[in-house]
């Protein structure tokens, strides 16, 4: 490099730094939302589904909240808590976002909570993960959930199994925070006998032959599983290949959905799951969302996407109410808490710990008229359910 071009490089660098310094002033004009999800590696399909729904929400809002342009900054947690925390920190400190949303994984959310909600004093919206700690003793005025607390969905499943009279149940799940919450959740409400309980290595175990052989020898009335994403595909395939689909029914949470169904195909037909949102819920905003999503992406949206869509709409409701003035955190929090938006679930309100109080439905895996695998609502398991940790939260 010659002396002259070196000089030019310095000037260019200085100009670039200056431009960076100017950015916050410009950024005041837009509503900045950081969105953390998994966009690389084996679970990237979930992140992609969430991103699609966020983009659809922005489109439905006309690209603006209270007249201000919406700027979404996506960050990849790589399915790792340490990376998720670091990316969250970047969003809060460097990008100075107004909101941080997303979070598929409980362990990533737990690692990032302090950074965003406490140190960063920034509003945080979980569009999926719901660890028991944040619903209970770690509840935070800056934290809101548009999903559920981990225990709730399996609790709804447990209630349904009681109604159906399933006498005994075998539980299988992955050995990490959410896996333990999910299995504990079904045990909270299920009144029959638990005849077996296995925790498998997460995320590296992809062979379930030992567990399935055990189940085959115990012959329970049902299997309850929690295997999100790719693991759900593997479990369902191996359950069917072992011939257990003819003898032991599968009840699941978060293991058979719009993302995994194209791969599970016919093997998943007839399996039942619990969920707080189903693509056929009869409200106008949900009809529009599902139709537009299918038109745009030629596939069904999943609850991950629906919860992400709701997260953006929740933010929009607060920004609109404040007419775009985001200077007071207290006012934003107060508006968020009102949940004055049209959720894809229909009625939506927050409990004292900022987790939703909501219905849970039972959905069956079926084929739609075009031959595409999807799920449809067959029953309501519980109505206006509150999570079991809300009482431990000091917030009122």
């Amino acid at each position: 490099m010659t002396g002259r071009s070196f000089g030019r490089a310095i000037i260019a660098a200085a100009a670039a730094t200056l431009a960076l310094g100017l950015q916050p002033a410009l950024a005041q004009q837009s509503v900045k939302i950081g969105f953390i999800s998994t966009f690389s590696g084996p679970q990237a399909a979930i992140g992609e589904d969430m991103r699609r729904s966020v983009e659809l929400a922005v489109e439905h809002l006309g690209g603006k909240m209270a007249g201000k342009p919406i700027q979404i900054i996506y960050e990849d947690d790589q399915f790792k808590p340490d990376v998720g925390k670091q990316r969250s920190e970047k969003l809060v400190e460097q990008d100075k976002v107004n909101f941080v949303a997303g979070y598929i994984w409980s362990n990533v959310l737990l690692a990032s909570l302090k950074t965003v909600a406490d140190e960063g004093d920034t509003i945080m919206i979980s569009a999926n993960a719901g660890p028991s700690q944040i619903a209970g003793e770690l509840c935070n005025k800056n934290f809101f959930s548009t999903s559920w607390q981990n225990d709730q969905t399996p609790m709804a499943m447990g209630e349904y199994l009681n109604q159906k009279g399933v006498k005994n149940l075998y539980l299988v799940g992955p050995n990490y925070a959410a896996g333990k919450d999910m299995l504990a959740g079904v045990k909270r409400t299920y009144k029959g006998k638990i005849v077996g309980e296995d925790y498998t290595k997460w995320p590296s175990q992809l062979d379930f032959s030992a567990e399935l052989t055990k189940i085959g020898s115990v012959k329970p009335d049902g299997i309850f599983i929690f295997y999100p994403g790719a693991h759900g595909v593997q479990f369902v395939k191996q359950w069917a290949q072992a011939g257990l689909n003819k003898t032991v029914p599968l009840y699941q949470v978060f293991s058979i959905d719009a993302i995994t169904l194209p791969q599970q195909g016919d093997l998943a037909l007839g399996t039942l799951g619990a969920q707080e949102w189903v693509n056929d819920l009869p409200n106008p905003q949900n009809k529009r969302y599902v139709e537009d999503f299918k038109k745009k992406y030629h596939t069904y949206p999943s609850y991950y996407g629906a919860q992400s869509y709701d997260a953006i709409m929740l933010i929009a409701s607060a920004v609109e109410a404040l007419k775009g003035d985001l200077s007071s955190k207290d006012k934003i929090r107060a508006e968020m808490k009102k949940a004055n938006f049209k959720s894809l679930r229909g009625d939506f309100k927050f409990g004292n710990n900022n987790f939703p109080i909501e219905n849970f439905y039972i959905q069956e895996a079926v084929k739609d008229p075009q031959g595409m695998m999807t799920v449809k609502t067959i029953a309501t398991a519980v109505t206006a359910a509150k999570d079991p940790f809300a009482d431990k939260c000091p917030m009122k």
């Binding site: 690389s40 992140g47 296995d198 590296s204 992809l206 032959s209 085959g216 595909v233 395939k237 791969q263």
Partner: protein, 304 residues
């Protein structure tokens, strides 16, 4: 008794699958002294090639057979373009470069095949269960895995013990400088061995595909266990890799199938079911440590 037999079969099937992956790894590590973290990527590519080729041909067997030469070619390309430059470097450089390859292949797959996983259905003629004993049935596809895995292991044993190539491979594993000095075309041998390792990894990947799923990073999870196997078996030894894979397969199954009940005999049920998964997850590493204390070069290791 049936239950025990089926669980043992599960262990054998798992072990054979791991053996296919470990065989290539132990060869490249033993002969070229190359720590190839990207071996799992070849496993993944084998599965993706098979997915595409099965789609094109409409036949599982034909697609799988075509995927093998494709993985071989990929192995050769990786060897010529990247791996060859790493033999003379230290292990740290190799780890860095081959880790880079993992990232490259994962993103390549995402760009070409998309982020969502793919699914290979079990071929129709194997989509049932077989009665191995009265009252005990086993998925036919897993049974086929055992047969193919065992056949490949025998083929490999024959290749290593009875052929010229095998002789060179064994010679290379015990003293690679010497075979170079004797006028053997080392470059060609290395390329062939690397390609062969890729074929076995690809075969493992495509055979695992119908029971697992074809997804980005599918090889990364399984690679750690493959490394444990080659360390237990002794680096460079095919026989060692086979024995170690069988041991690891059985231990894994025992840990998952029997440990909770074993613990319940002297612990209360709640803490037994809590402790069992924790213990079974570290069991293979405990065995590895024990083997290394007893035999620092592994069960069949040749180098000191």
């Amino acid at each position: 008794m049936d239950y025990l037999l089926i669980q043992m079969l599960n262990g054998v099937q798992l072990g054979l699958l791991m053996f296919l992956l470990a065989a290539g790894l132990t060869l490249t590590f033993g002969i070229m002294d190359l720590v190839n973290l990207a071996h799992g990527s070849l496993y993944m590519m084998g599965a993706y090639f098979a997915w595409t080729l099965i789609g094109w041909t409409g036949s599982f067997v034909l697609g799988a057979l075509l995927a093998l030469p494709a993985t071989f070619l990929l192995g050769v390309v990786v060897e010529v373009v990247v791996a060859r430059r790493l033999y003379a470097r230290d292990h740290l450089a190799q780890v860095l470069a081959t880790f880079g390859l993992i990232l490259f292949f994962n993103e390549l797959v995402r760009a070409v095949w998309g982020p969502e996983g793919k699914s290979i259905a079990v071929p129709a003629f194997l989509d049932h269960t077989v009665q191995i004993l009265p009252g005990a049935s086993y998925p036919a596809y897993r049974f086929a895995l055992i047969v193919v895995g065992a056949a490949v292991a025998l083929l490999l044993a024959w290749l290593v013990a009875r052929t010229k190539l095998g002789m060179l491979i064994r010679a290379g594993a015990s003293n690679r400088r010497m075979i170079g000095a004797l006028g053997i075309n080392i470059e060609l041998l290395f390329t062939l061995v690397f390609g062969l390792g890729a074929v076995f990894a690809g075969l493992a990947g495509l055979m695992a595909a119908p029971i697992a799923s074809v997804k980005i990073g599918m090889g990364d999870d399984i690679l750690i266990v493959a490394f444990v196997i080659i360390v237990i078996g002794g680096i460079g030894s095919i026989k060692g890799a086979f024995v170690a894979a069988m041991i690891v397969g059985q231990i894994d199954i025992v840990g998952r199938a029997f440990l909770p009940d074993m613990l319940k005999t002297f612990m209360d049920p709640a803490s037994a079911s809590g402790a069992a998964p924790a213990i079974s997850q570290v069991l293979i590493y405990v065995v590895m440590a024990a083997v290394l204390v007893w035999r620092p070069t592994g069960l069949f290791g040749q180098r000191s």
